[in-house]
């Protein structure tokens, strides 16, 4: 195989199909962290969201006409719901009980892996009568976008796209608007900078933070469901690949702002897909594919070394809100 035979269109579209779920998870993280709550639980939230969506698909087989895409679209709603519900644990621990936010996040990640693995096997054995640790999903349709796909070079990004990419673009735009243009967004960002000021302005800080954390769960759930469709076409504990942590890296490089975070996600996505397509050119062994999977993480390490100092976290990030503090 020569460098000329590399599928450049695949680099673009695969890169995007990885970058967009990462973006929506990272936006979830931005909501939580801009409100002042450290969220290391994204990994667990995306997994639990994907579990909830896949459970919906698995349990409604036969209710929908064969070949219908409806269950797929609905699964995203259920994934968001599942992620949101799971995030309530983090919110209650951190806000109501003032637990350490880092520990809470780590515990939720561990809990999510164990719980979804257990539930998947048990539900499969009890209700569907099979010994399996995964829920099968139907293959997602892939669309070619007329006209746009004919643009030279970037047109490749509009061939064989996943429907979830559009869902994510719409949801991401909505949450960008919510964060920067509305009352709620103004309050979320204030809560992460100076909660005392927000409180003095007569706003309930806990409620704002609670809302932000729940949103982070819902968005992570949508991202997790997207990975379930694009990477494996099923739900299994193999979904815990560390992409939640990659999303955290992306939002840190993006300085806790949505548009720069999108850029960081694109870098990660394109690095990953390029590694997949380019590495086999030099060596066809299977081990090289495993190496390709590490590409986004290697890039993360390099970026951290160079840009680690230049970013500014929300001022009150991780600070328990205690009214009596002077």
């Amino acid at each position: 195989m020569s460098i000329l035979n590399v599928n450049y269109a695949a680099i673009l579209v695969d890169g995007l199909s990885f970058a967009l779920p990462l973006l929506i998870i990272a936006i979830g993280g931005i909501y939580s962290e801009r409100s002042g709550i450290v969220n290391l639980a994204l990994e667990g939230l995306l997994g639990f969201g994907a579990f909830a969506g896949a459970l919906f698909v698995a349990s409604t087989v036969g209710l929908f006409a064969t070949g219908s895409d409806l269950p797929m679209y609905l699964s995203f709603a259920f994934a968001a719901l599942g992620g949101a519900l799971f995030a309530v644990i983090h919110a209650v621990l951190c806000i109501k009980f003032m637990a350490n936010q880092v520990i809470s996040g780590v515990v939720i990640n561990i809990l999510s892996v164990a719980l979804t693995g257990f539930l998947t096997s048990t539900i499969n054995a009890t209700f569907f009568g099979e010994a399996s640790e995964r829920f099968m999903l139907q293959t997602s349709p892939r669309w070619d976008i007329p006209f746009l796909m004919e643009i030279p070079i970037i047109g490749a990004a509009f061939t064989r796209v996943y429907p979830f990419m559009f869902i994510i673009l719409i949801v991401a735009t909505f949450f960008w608007y919510l964060l920067y243009k509305t009352k709620f967004g103004l309050r979320v960002r204030a809560a992460g900078d100076n909660p005392q000021a927000l409180d003095a302005a007569g706003v309930n800080v806990s409620r704002v933070r609670f809302g932000a954390v729940v949103i982070s769960g819902a968005l992570a759930g949508i991202g997790g469901m997207s990975f379930a469709y694009s990477i494996s076409t099923n739900f299994s504990p193999a979904i815990y690949m560390g992409y939640g942590f990659l999303a955290i890296a992306a939002l840190i490089f993006g300085n806790w702002r949505i548009v720069p975070t999108f850029a960081a996600c694109l870098v990660f996505g394109l690095t990953r897909s390029a590694a997949f397509q380019l590495l086999p050119v030099f060596d066809a062994s299977a081990a090289v594919i495993d190496l390709a999977m590490t590409a986004p993480f290697v890039v993360t390490l390099l970026l951290l070394a160079f840009f680690g100092r230049s970013n500014k976290a929300p001022r009150a990030l991780g600070e328990l809100y205690d009214k009596s503090k002077r």
Partner: protein, 513 residues
């Protein structure tokens, strides 16, 4: 002033915190359109009382009436609904937001784009804020970001925040504490303007001259109790001060010098540079003898702080020598210097003097925790900490809600400073360095600390006092050194210098020598 309608009435309000009664059966009424001062020392309960009016705390007993109607103020929200506003001592502003965003936060004007999508209408808010700032003479750029603004402008933003919410009763909690004299002047003018435009103001302070200048009436609180309410035009600062401290105050604490002994500290040709190589302390030489207070006067930034840091070992010395009791300090680190007999009361008590989130007993042992009796065979001994703390609390009248287990962050500034002074004096060092020891404190605490400094001198300690308050230098010093632009411009016995003369040296004037 004619009899006016009463806007706010406080009746028999009591508030207890664990171990302390912050407000004890306080009753007062505030008339519409007056400036009403709450005067008292730190910890007298002024802020607590104001916080109850603003709904941050709820009284344990008593009632609050607003416009004649009983008001249950459970949160700032309800206070705002009753047209009460408050400027806190530490501003409540979002640093990366604009002036406008800060002002509208919590009360955002909404609009709908295309009739569907709600958004915050910044443009209209900016217009409204501009109008308000013109109306009340509060100059501010609505689109500026808070972190780019100075303290006094941020304070104007806080005032605008209240006006934006149509507040009628404005509470200012120690508003002049962080301002320069010029800024204070303009703030007082703003407050007068507000009154002239029909607002009512509660002004919390411990500075008598401010009360005399702007306030119509003045309530004095002592340890949570209301002791007096007087019309300012019928009273004098001395009278107010006496009531505030509960005893007559001797404004000048001059005491004759006792025996002066041998040289304790000798500084020769000392030079300290900043990171860019600019000399902050430039070839300074002086000596301090046992039983002598050597006070350094100078305008802020003349190199005094760097000089003190160099002696204490916190800054690198470029050249010159520092000798304590004939021992060269150059090679000694901070701990060794402490052990060889230097006590240091730093300028920034909160970040250098204390570990704010540690308890009082731990803070009081910060310099000696590693020695017996605090630490024996590498184990800390909590009873020793508590015993030492109880003794110092007693000796230095440190007021703390929960005894030696109080977190120092919860304590008032005056008591934090008393704790540091107590800890350092307890070191029994030969040389005590006091940098701005009374900054930001109330009269009672200032007097207590000045007495302590004189006591130590009379015990035969050498004292290096650095103060920006010329009065303090004149009152306490035996010898005065004046620093100007890093140089020691003049060293002379205090008795040979007048305040005016020292003031001239501080400005760098030497020609009439």
């Amino acid at each position: 002033m004619a009899e006016q309608e009463i806007l706010l009435e406080v009746k028999g309000v009591t508030k207890r915190f664990p171990g302390i009664v912050a407000c004890d059966d306080v009753s007062l009424d505030i008339r519409k359109g007056e400036i009403y001062a709450l005067l008292g020392e730190n910890g007298a309960g002024k802020s607590t009382l104001a916080s109850m009016i603003f709904g941050l705390y709820q009284p344990d007993e008593g009632q609050i009436f607003m416009r004649g109607k009983e008001a249950q103020i459970d949160s700032p929200n309800e206070a705002v609904a009753l047209d009460i506003g408050m400027v806190h001592q530490h501003f409540k502003l979002i640093s990366n937001y604009t002036v406008t965003q800060n002002i509208i936060l919590g009360d955002e004007p909404k609009k709908r784009a295309l009739g569907i999508f709600p958004y915050v209408d910044i443009k209209n808010a900016e217009k409204r804020i501009e109008e308000l700032s013109k109306e009340y003479g509060l100059e501010v750029d609505p689109s500026a970001v808070i972190s780019d603004l100075g303290v006094s402008v941020q304070q104007r933003v806080e005032i605008l925040k209240m006006l934006y919410r149509d507040a009628e009763l404005l509470i200012f909690d120690e508003p002049t504490a962080m301002l320069t004299p010029q800024e204070i002047e303009s703030l007082l003018q703003i407050i007068k303007n507000l009154r002239d435009q029909g607002k009512t103001v509660i002004f919390i302070t411990h500075k008598l001259d401010e009360v005399m200048e702007v306030c119509d009436r003045c309530a004095i609180l002592v340890r949570g109790k209301l002791v007096d309410v007087s019309e300012t035009k019928n009273t004098s600062p001395a009278e107010l001060a006496a009531k505030m401290v509960g005893r007559d105050i001797n404004f000048s604490a001059k005491r004759p010098t006792k025996a002066i002994g041998k040289t304790v500290l000798e500084v020769q040709d000392l030079r300290v540079e900043d990171s860019s190589g600019f000399p902050k302390v430039n070839d300074v030489s002086f000596e301090i003898r046992a039983g002598e207070i050597f006070a350094i006067a100078g305008v802020s930034g003349s190199g005094q702080t760097e000089l003190a840091d160099a002696v204490a070992g916190l800054t690198k010395v470029k050249k010159g020598s520092i000798r304590l009791n004939d021992c060269d300090l150059a090679k000694l680190n901070v701990r060794k210097r402490c052990e060889s007999g230097i006590a240091y009361i730093p300028e920034d008590r909160q970040s250098v003097g204390l570990v704010l989130d540690f308890s009082l007993d731990q803070n009081l042992a910060l310099k000696s925790y590693y020695q017996a009796p605090f630490c024996t065979s590498s184990l800390l001994n909590p009873t020793a900490f508590a015993e030492r703390a109880e003794k110092l609390i007693e000796d230095f009248d440190i007021r703390c809600a929960r005894g030696c287990k109080t977190t120092t962050r919860e304590m008032s500034g005056g008591n934090q400073q008393k704790a540091i002074v107590g800890r350092e004096i307890d070191q029994d060092a030969d040389l005590l360095i006091f940098v701005q020891p009374t900054r930001g404190l109330d009269i009672g605490a200032i007097m207590a600390i000045r007495e302590r400094i004189l006591d130590e001198r009379d015990k035969g300690k050498a004292i290096l006092l650095i103060s920006l308050e010329l009065d303090e230098v004149m009152d306490l010093a035996d010898t005065i050194g004046v620093m100007y632009a890093g140089q020691m411009l003049k060293v002379a016995p205090a008795s040979t210098l007048t305040t005016n003369k020292v003031g001239e040296y501080m400005m760098g004037v030497t020609e009439n020598d």
